[in-house]
């Protein structure tokens, strides 16, 4: 029962469940639970201690004024789950299409961002480095040694060092 009241406080109950919880509130145990959860909530929100005897006074007022509870607003009929799913998909599509059109509208910004990112992630440009260094280095690498002469292609590849450096 305490759990139902807690859920009522959080606005999780509707329809027949809510009616049942409201009926429980009228009993002393229900009020105690209500008070308890509110104290907890207030403590969490640091609203301060309720004054002693508060719940007794509150219960008396409840009895005195049967309409103290605000009329429950007429709840809209709940949409079936399928509709809710469709609505969320549609929302994503709308957001997505806005994002895409923004994307296309500023190609230079995107291109610059990509370029900057490429530099940041150290995408090196292929560029000939003097074969001196390559040739001096290659012998010491185990991966070169197990392949024979093949890796020396790096030093003579087209688009690579042309020997002039």
């Amino acid at each position: 029962m305490g759990e139902q009241i807690s859920r009522l406080m959080d606005g999780e109950l509707e329809g027949a469940e809510a009616d049942a919880a409201f009926r429980e509130l009228k009993g002393p145990e229900g009020v105690a639970s209500w008070e308890c959860y509110h104290v907890i909530g207030d403590a969490l929100r640091r609203c301060g201690e309720p004054t002693p005897g508060f719940s007794a006074r509150f219960a008396a007022r409840l009895d005195a004024e049967p309409t103290v509870l605000a009329p429950r607003p007429k709840r809209a009929p709940r949409l079936p789950l399928v509709w809710a799913a469709a609505a969320s998909v549609a929302a994503v599509l709308v957001v997505g299409s806005v994002a895409v059109s923004t994307f296309d509208a500023q190609p230079t910004v995107i291109a610059k961002a990509r370029e900057a990112n490429a530099v940041r992630t150290a995408q090196a440009r292929p560029q000939p480095v003097s074969p001196d260094y390559l040739l001096a280095h290659q012998e010491y690498s185990p991966t070169t040694q197990i392949q024979g002469v093949g890796p020396y292609l790096r030093s003579v590849a087209a688009g690579g060092p042309d020997g002039r450096q």
Binding site: A122, Q123, A124, R125, P126, Q127, P128, V129, P131, D132, Y133, L134, L135, A136, H137, E139, Y140, S141, P142, T143, Q145, I146, Q147, G148, V149, G150, P151, Y152, L153, R154, S155, V156, A157, A158, G159, G160, P161, D162, G163, R164
Partner: protein
């Protein structure tokens, strides 16, 4: 304490069993290190001792180039010839003592003496340790490559400072048929692959002779001085060596043009990164990051010196080393 008695009636307290298990587990990486190092040595031996010829494709950064390769091992000496088939004619002749690169379009021949005349210098204990700690070495699939039955092997890096490597070796001889370097997104950085390969065939000495005379008269010959095997202090250090890399060589080299260059080499057992430091000359040098196939290069100026770092490692690793070069 519960004790288990073996067939000889010797008591085996549980903690002794636990210690033994722990010792065996601790020995496992060392065993794997030896396995990886042994595989490297066997593969290098096959590259040196087999006679073979074939067509090799070099693939890097969207470029594909094809070359013919011939390798002869005769009377304990090795002779190799590599001729590219695309673009300006280039040739590499590798013999026991040196590597020569011919650039006929530029009329240049570069000669690099070979420091390691043997097939494969055995890895130092530190390199073997690095190999086990920083790579996961395992057998992969079998399959047919270039018409040969092959066994694939993988060196998977345990951190982002290294590339991944996959090798396909001929099942019969252990000779490499394909070698691939991949980055952390499993994209191919570089690949050498034979498309056809004949192993154990008769190779004539003529097949490994260079196309041009040893030193064509109107060509420039660029001869480098021999490399170092021992450690000699150069006055330069790398303050932040990436984990897993150990220094294996340090000394001065004479690169072409009679430049004295400090050369330090760091290796993790599988790849190497070289650091070259020399006085900055009059000519302006491009600095920053570049690449040549699977080799990343980082150049920076440090006061009056030019630092060039290159190796088969990701750009970040090469850059980190370059930025932590300092005077001793």
């Amino acid at each position: 304490m519960t004790c288990r008695r073996d067939r000889f009636g010797v008591a085996w307290p549980w903690f002794r069993i636990a210690l033994l298990a722990a010792a065996m587990l601790a020995a496992a990486p060392a065993a794997r290190a030896n396995e990886a190092a042994a595989w490297l040595a066997r593969t290098a031996a096959a590259a040196q001792q087999q006679n073979y010829t074939g067509t090799i494709v070099y693939q890097h950064g969207g470029h594909v180039e094809t070359s013919r390769l011939v390798h002869l091992f005769e009377n304990g000496s090795e002779f190799e010839k590599l001729v590219n088939l695309d673009g300006p004619a280039r040739e590499v002749i590798r013999s026991q003592g040196e590597v020569r690169c011919y650039y006929p379009d530029a009329k240049v021949v570069r000669i690099e003496p070979r420091t390691f005349r043997n097939a494969f210098p055995s890895l130092s204990p530190q390199q073997q340790k690095a190999l086990a700690e920083f790579y996961d070495f395992r057998k992969a699939e079998t399959g047919r490559v270039a018409g040969l039955e092959t066994q694939a092997w993988v060196f998977e890096p345990k951190d982002g400072l290294r590339y991944g490597h996959k090798f396909w070796a001929d099942a019969a001889t252990g000779l490499l048929v394909k070698a691939r370097i991949v980055d952390d997104r499993n994209e191919i950085v570089e690949q050498f692959a034979f498309t056809d390969l004949a192993i154990g065939v008769k190779i004539d000495r003529d097949m490994v002779r260079p196309t041009w005379a040893v030193a064509p008269p109107d060509w420039r010959v660029r001869q480098a001085g021999p490399g170092d095997v021992d450690m000699k202090e150069t006055g330069w250090i790398v303050t932040r060596v990436p984990p897993g890399f150990v220094k294996i060589v340090e000394g001065f080299r004479q690169l072409q043009g009679l430049r004295q260059v400090a050369h330090l080499v760091f290796s993790d057992g599988l790849v190497a990164v070289s650091v070259f430091v020399e006085p900055v000359g009059a000519a302006s040098h491009p600095t920053g990051l570049s690449k040549q196939g699977g080799i990343n290069v980082y150049i920076r100026q440090l006061d009056e010196s030019l630092v060039t770092v290159l190796g088969e490692a990701p750009a970040a690793t090469v850059r980190q080393i370059a930025h932590s070069v300092a005077r001793r």
